[in-house]
Symmetry: C2
Subunit: 146 residues, 2 copies
């Protein structure tokens, strides 16, 4: 581990995750590209530059990072899991028409609303489902019913 820039370095230290070149590359990719990437995409993109990471390592890294809370698995209807750097919290909107997952700006939940009993909550997110702007526009144009 030679050079790791600010925020990410902090994140690794704070989360007590062994920083390895490969984990860094994975988190770096997710943090830089605000996309909901599949493991396969991350694998491809990370390997376009130098530090190569095997497929298994991408999966392992995502798992470690997720356990540490640096990355989270995002809801998705497809079969492949999708991931998100979770350095900055946000909610999600899933389009039932095209499957796209969009970020929704963060807002808090009113305290005490949720009947959670003795469970220890470490994080939460709201997942909205419906029709995204693009699909809504396409629908009204063609007058489609379904």
């Amino acid at each position: 581990m030679s050079s790791m820039s600010g925020e990410l370095r902090q994140a690794f230290l704070a989360a007590d995750v062994r920083p390895t070149v490969q984990r860094y590359a994975v988190l770096h990719y997710l943090a830089r590209n605000r996309v909901h990437a599949t493991a396969e995409e991350i694998f491809r993109e990370v390997n376009r530059r130098d530090p190569r990471a095997s497929r298994a390592t991408v999966y392992n890294s995502l798992k470690s990072l997720a356990r540490a809370g640096l990355v989270r698995e995002v809801v998705s209807d497809g079969k492949a899991a999708r991931f998100d750097a979770s350095l900055h919290p946000h909610h999600h909107f899933v389009c039932e028409r095209c499957g796209e997952v969009e970020d929704v700006a963060w807002f808090e939940l009113p305290a005490g609303k949720a009947p959670l009993g003795a469970r220890q909550v470490r994080s939460f997110e709201v997942v909205f489902r419906g029709v995204c702007e693009k699909c809504a526009a396409a629908q009204s144009l063609t007058g489609e019913t379904e």
Copy 2:
């Protein structure tokens, strides 16, 4: 389609989904067993009784039922998708320790909180993550750190 009992029959009619023996069996299983089942589990259980359904049909049925809103795909960290009869709305709690998904009683979100723009929201749910009661108890007993 000969005999279909009350609530489910209504659900099919209301959702304008062609009622088939197989779809009925799938929805029936999910409605009766408040579990977050994988497609594989549903396949196995449905086929223990009479109306047999091929694997592909279980997947197709789940897809149709989900599109119609009678079933929903539940968050899950594992690789296999999990499903839920969504006749009665509720939120979810995911244990980061054991992976278990638990239901959380329904509550509304304060109106106007979410910055959703022109998106058409048809449903939403809150996903909490943390440590479930059982895992919390196990942890405090053994004094484990991680």
